[in-house]
Amino acid sequence: MAISKISIKNILKIIFRTYVIRLLYNYKNMFGEGLCYCTIPCHDDKNQKRFIRENIAFFNSNEYVVSYAIGAFLKMEQEETIEDTYKVMSMFSSSTGAIGDRLAYKVFYPLFIVMLSFIVISGDFSLNKVEIGIILFILFIYNLFNFFVRYIGIKHGYERGKKVMFEFKNKKFIIFVGIIKRVKLFMVGFSIVLLLSYLLN
């Protein structure tokens, strides 16, 4: 068994590493090297070399949701045989990639972009101090959310193992995504009318 328990310090180290995971992205193993790099803090120095040699393989994911896979990977490494881990990692490879991309780039990212555009459009394309403050606040919220997703991903992944992916099918989560879509549409409608009024003036 390579790892014993995941501490807060290690979670923070892994989070920091997930922020730079794309630097190791390449067209052969995709996130394979990145996944190993992120899990290194949980292995002692003796096991690191063996661990890296044994675990570098093809792995595709999304940089925001990869933390769920990392947490689950650490859990499985602790509990199961390495063959089984490979099977599950291959499943994670497709699911975290698809779910992460859809959630990050079709739901959350567009919401924040529409919010920023909404402020700029409602400010008639010239920002005062309050509007700049709101934009910076939105940026802060996004980054907090970005950090929170990674933290929860590692924590829950480690606690629940491969079952962690069911979190994305949770009813509360689906309702939350639905609310986000509606808020986005509301702002889109608001912005369209404002732009029409500018056009007619």
Binding site: R22, N26, Y27, N62, E63, P110, I121, N146
Partner: protein, 218 residues
């Protein structure tokens, strides 16, 4: 200012594609930096909004060449404001810079593709030499490579725009400003309409429109 824009472009490419991804490099955020340097807010924010809404639904997944619009936006808008005199041709400049962002984004995606191919070779070579993955070195090499390529690319972009200025000067802007403004706003409305996904959620769009109507009347 020129060196600042060139260097910051490299950092923007690094942030948007490789490190952190905290929206810091998005056009609507980086435009705040340009506003800090007294750029025309209408020119900067209108171009940023158009760029953001044009690329809003793109997913940078797998091996797909993802247009690096946040990288393209900053140097183009920065150099446009630096090289051209935009006093009486703001809307034309918005239109031209937006049209330039589209091909430059695609070109920049090729640079990232090239960088990742180089990185693959470096990873394999380093493994042959060290017999172990030295991740810290690899990360440093990867970051410096992106920074270098981004900076170099934005420098060539500056030379390109400077040569346009050299040959045409401000006579480059020959279109009617009011027409340009109308085209931009119609394009923005069209881009927003693209975001409406399903009929059952149409009610929230209508609510937004009604709220905007009340806002305008008040």
């Amino acid at each position: 200012m020129l060196i600042f824009i060139i260097f910051l472009s490299g950092i923007i490419l690094l942030e948007s594609r490789e490190v952190y991804q905290g929206m810091l490099s998005q056009p609507l955020i980086t435009s705040l930096i340009l506003l800090l340097f007294n750029y025309d807010p209408v020119f900067v924010l209108l171009t940023a909004t158009m760029t953001e809404l044009f690329y809003i639904n793109r997913v940078p997944s797998g091996a797909v060449l993802y247009p690096e619009y946040s990288f393209a936006f900053f140097p183009i808008v920065g150099f446009f404001g630096l090289i051209f005199n935009l006093d009486e041709s703001t809307y034309q400049a918005v239109l031209f810079s937006f049209l330039l962002i589209l091909p430059v984004s695609i070109l920049a995606s090729r640079i990232i593709y090239l960088k990742r191919k180089i990185m693959r070779k470096i990873i394999s070579k380093r493994f042959e030499v060290d017999k172990i993955y030295n991740f810290k070195h690899l990360i440093l090499i990867s970051a410096l490579l992106t920074l270098f390529l981004g900076t170099l690319f934005s420098f060539f972009l500056f030379l390109f725009l400077k040569s346009i200025w050299f040959f045409w000067g401000n006579s480059f802007f020959i279109l009617n400003e009011i027409w340009c403004k109308n085209i931009i706003f119609i394009l923005l409305i069209f881009l927003l309409f693209r975001l409406i996904p399903e009929k059952k959620e149409f009610i929230y769009l209508i609510l937004g429109m009604l709220a905007a109507g009340i806002y305008i009347i008040i």
